[in-house]
């Protein structure tokens, strides 16, 4: 376990170094966003560079940033002047909510649908679900988002077009009212992301399940006269869960990064939107903060996948 932890820390550190170097190599000026319609004077520019440490050598800048991270201080946003930690914490709940709901829907629906396809290979249901999932996979998320917003929000006015809450809702409103408001705002972005993501889970699950159903153990179970659902879920599915669990591990970082395009289209105030704005503005401290978070989430996702896989497949237990 200690080895895994060390490996994870090294991965996060490597990601941070890479992000730092690549961002500095990319063209763009973080102070440009601070220029209004009038040029920054040389004096003002020098002051800003000194304030954000941009006048120091790259190595010193990285060392200063890393030292801050060790103390729990991710620095200050160049664009807004706000602490990066606060910006991340402000955005994290929205990303966790959207990512969590999408994760549950994608795997909660994708797994049974994939199993359904595998148990009826070549049937009309299999072909229909396969065709639909392929079409959904091919659709760009931002396009689907715009279509759904145009239909359900603009044309029919059934759901909000953008945002996470109604800005005019009284902050002192009862908890249930505020929760319902968030849920209404969540429907379209969650639906968009689920539609474009579910195909992968379905296809992985279908392929793994087909292989599992052909195994001698499953044939033996059938020969013993076990009922169909028991054969499918207890004997076949447990053997077919591996690839889907691996996929889940890769998907877990989505919980924190969100989906940039969907967050943009629906103005969902998550980390994906923050990251996109920060990259465009060359807001180095924010980009580094998001990178660190995503790297940590990726490592955590991989560890979680290994644990789940081991729980599902006794052969992998030490």
């Amino acid at each position: 376990m200690a080895g895994r932890l060390l490996q994870g820390l090294l991965t996060v550190a490597l990601a941070a170094v890479l992000a730092f170097v690549l961002m500095r190599l990319a063209p763009g000026d973080p102070l440009a966003v601070l220029g209004d319609d009038r040029p920054l004077t040389a004096e003002a520019r020098a002051q800003l560079e000194a304030r954000f440490g941009l006048d120091r050598p790259l190595g010193a800048q990285f060392a200063s940033w890393a030292g801050g991270v060790a103390r729990g201080d991710l620095g200050v946003s160049i664009a807004t002047g706000q602490p990066v930690t606060r910006l991340l914490l402000d955005r994290l709940p929205a990303s966790l909510l959207l990512g969590g709901v999408v994760l549950v829907l994608t795997f909660g629906l994708g797994i049974p649908l994939g199993v359904l396809q595998a148990t009826r290979p070549g049937s009309a249901a299999d072909r229909l679900l396969g065709g639909l999932s392929l079409a959904a996979w091919a659709v760009p998320s931002f396009w689907l988002g715009l279509v759904l917003a145009g239909t359900f929000a603009v044309r029919w006015r059934l759901l909000p077009a953008a945002g996470m809450t109604d800005p005019l809702l009284d902050p002192g409103a009862p908890w249930a009212v505020r929760a319902a408001d968030v849920l209404r705002h969540l429907v379209l972005p969650a639906l968009t992301l689920t539609v474009v993501s579910i195909a992968a889970v379905m296809r992985y699950q279908r392929a793994a399940m087909l292989a599992a159903l052909a195994q001698p153990s499953v044939l033996a179970a059938r020969a013993r006269g076990l009922p169909g659902p028991a054969v499918i879920w207890r004997h076949a599915w447990r053997n077919a869960i591996g690839p889907v669990v691996a996929l889940l591990g890769l998907w877990l970082p989505l919980l924190v990064t969100g989906a940039v395009f969907v967050e943009y289209v629906f103005d969902w105030p998550g980390l994906g939107q923050l990251a996109a704005l920060a990259v465009a503005a060359r807001d180095y401290p924010v980009v580094m903060g998001v990178t660190l978070l995503v790297a940590a989430a990726t490592v955590a996702g991989n560890v979680a996948a290994d644990v789940l896989h081991a729980a599902a497949d006794p052969r992998l237990r030490p």
Binding site: P27, D37, T41, T80, D90, A161, D267, P269, L274
Partner: protein, 559 residues
């Protein structure tokens, strides 16, 4: 006992108001039918620092203008010279002591939102901060002609200028609204942006700060009993939506009430017209879009050599004459943009002084290029001279839809002429860095101008040639500089000088001046008296009110 008395007491309490209402004339009753009102204004940027001296543009300025009043407001004529184009706001009246001294008497009714009176020291402290380069940043150059600001008692402010010029009054009142000295003075200037005051500003305007959710919204509420009158809309929310499509969807769905700058293409305007519950409100804007010619050779790191192609004025004139600017602008902006004859937005009163440009004439453009030695010697459709093809790189910032759309039209219109334009759509910060470095042939820039034409110095003077964010094309004509100086500082009518300066710029062809658009706002039709101002669009929001017959549930919510 109390059980029997209570209904009687209650009935008495109800009867009296009922009798009063019954006795009211019908007109008075109608007047009572007002609702508290709300407005959700959709903006593209986060109003991070809605405080004077920290912001001059965008959503921060929109919010700042609700919170802070100026000494005087600019009238609809946008006359920036003299004081006849201004109306009192924080200053009740003003007078001139001599040619370099203005005296302002503050309105004694003015109060900060924390209850303290607005005093002369507030004005002195704010202007002093803004005038010093180290603390005022870019305001310092705008206020550089102010020599001294001092208080005479609590209500009188005396502003002394270094010399006599036409826009003294404008400079004193327009750029920086006063801030409360009792709150701002203890904050070091470099800490102001990160201070609590910047996060929760205390102003003196018709709206007060309620809350903000960073990246999402800012909420204000009307100040009841404000000395200029209580605003008709009590709750005001500036909702931040970075994506243009999401902004439009929010507006069309009815979740927003108004939106600034409905972006081209014109199809967006058609969607607003079709919605039925919205109307378009075009307002003159300070925006100017132009393709800048680089006068210096980008291959020369010192930028001392003239540009090998664009250093020749005949080439520059040929490119200007070959383009049908009117057609391009109509395709992108519809009726809501003018084709400028010089570096003049719709806000500048001098825009009508520029001579009409020569009409589109591709034959004349070909002749000019031939005179400059450009011919298609190898028959590949691209002109060349001494083995160099006439290929120009055009830098375009990706976030700007109008510029992306027009750049492609420019490319198409110049192709038949034998000029190859390579359009390079760049991420905003990359584009800005390249233009500041002078690493371009053609640059699709856009400026946001103040109402004062003095801003011409920023982008088109020798003094600013090569300065980042200023005259990055290194255009320099000392005659233009002299004419602009005469226009700004002469005691007589400045118009003839401006006219000559603009004619000279036009002849020099330092850029292709493409569009001077109006900003098109979309506003819900449920508002009455919904006027917008050119110098500060939402500054008249306090005069708006909701049509009682079209009120929404959210209009009745008050804090």
């Amino acid at each position: 006992m109390s059980r029997t008395r209570a209904p009687l007491a209650c009935a008495r309490r109800l009867l009296l108001p009922a009798a009063i209402v019954a006795l009211l004339p019908a007109g008075s009753l109608a007047a009572q039918r007002t609702v508290p009102g709300s407005a959700v204004i959709i903006v593209g940027q986060d109003p991070v620092t809605p405080v004077p001296t920290l912001t001059r543009l965008g959503a921060s300025l929109d919010v700042s203008n609700q919170l802070f009043l100026r000494l005087a407001r600019l009238g609809p004529g946008l006359r920036t010279w003299g004081d006849s184009g201004f109306a009192p706001e924080l200053a009740r009246r003003w007078s001139r002591r001599d040619s370099v001294t203005l005296v302002f008497d503050l309105d004694s009714r003015a109060r900060w939102h924390d209850g303290r009176p607005v005093v002369a020291n507030d004005v002195v402290t704010t202007l002093d901060r803004a005038r010093i380069p180290a603390t005022g940043g870019r305001y310092a150059s705008l206020l550089s002609e102010i020599a001294d600001v001092r208080a005479e008692g609590n209500r009188r402010v005396v502003v002394t200028f270094r010399r006599r010029y036409a826009e003294q009054f404008y400079d004193a009142v327009f750029h920086v609204p006063p801030m409360p000295a009792h709150l701002v003075a203890p904050i070091p200037a470099e800490s102001l942006a990160a201070s609590r005051f910047a996060r929760e500003p205390v102003g003196n305007g018709p709206y007060r700060w309620v809350r903000s959710v960073p990246g999402q919204l800012v909420e204000l509420e009307a100040v009841r009993g404000h000395f200029l009158g209580t605003a008709g809309i009590l709750r005001l929310v500036f909702r931040v939506v970075p994506d243009a499509d999401a902004r439009l969807n929010l507006l069309l769905s009815g979740d927003g009430d108004a939106q600034e700058a409905v972006s081209p293409p014109v199809a967006n305007l058609e969607r607003i017209r079709a919605a039925g519950h919205l109307r378009e409100v075009p307002v003159a804007s300070g925006m100017l879009g132009y393709i800048l010619f680089n006068h210096a050779d980008p291959a020369d790191s010192a930028r001392a050599r003239p540009h090998p192609v664009l250093g020749d004025v005949r080439v520059r004139r040929a490119l200007v004459r070959a383009l049908d600017r009117e057609r391009m602008v109509r395709a992108v902006f519809g009726p809501y943009a003018a084709v400028p004859e010089g570096p003049t937005s719709q806000l500048w009163w001098i825009r009508s002084l520029a001579p009409a440009a020569a009409p589109v004439d591709t034959a004349a453009a070909r002749r000019l290029l031939a005179e400059a030695g450009w011919r298609d010697t190898d028959g590949d459709g691209v002109l060349d001279r001494a083995g160099r093809p006439l290929v120009l790189r055009l830098g375009v910032p990706a976030p700007s839809a109008p510029r992306r759309l027009i750049a492609l039209q420019v490319q198409e219109q110049l192709r038949p002429l034998g000029v190859q334009v390579d359009v390079q759509v760049l991420e905003g910060s990359v584009w800005q860095e390249r233009r500041n470095r002078g690493d371009f042939d053609l640059d699709f820039g856009a400026a946001v101008q103040d109402p004062s034409p003095s801003g011409i110095v920023n982008s088109w003077s020798c003094a600013n040639a090569g300065r980042p964010d200023a005259n990055v094309g290194r255009y320099c004509d000392p005659a233009v500089d002299s004419l602009v100086a005469l226009a700004r500082f002469s005691s007589g009518d400045p118009a003839p000088y401006w006219r000559e300066a603009l004619a000279r710029i036009q002849a020099d062809a330092p850029a292709i001046f493409l569009y001077a658009p109006a900003t098109v706002f979309a506003v819900s039709t449920r508002y009455r008296d919904a006027t917008l101002r050119a110098d500060s669009p939402w500054a008249d929001l306090r005069r708006w009110s909701v049509d009682p017959g079209r009120a929404l549930p959210r209009d009745r919510v008050t804090r």
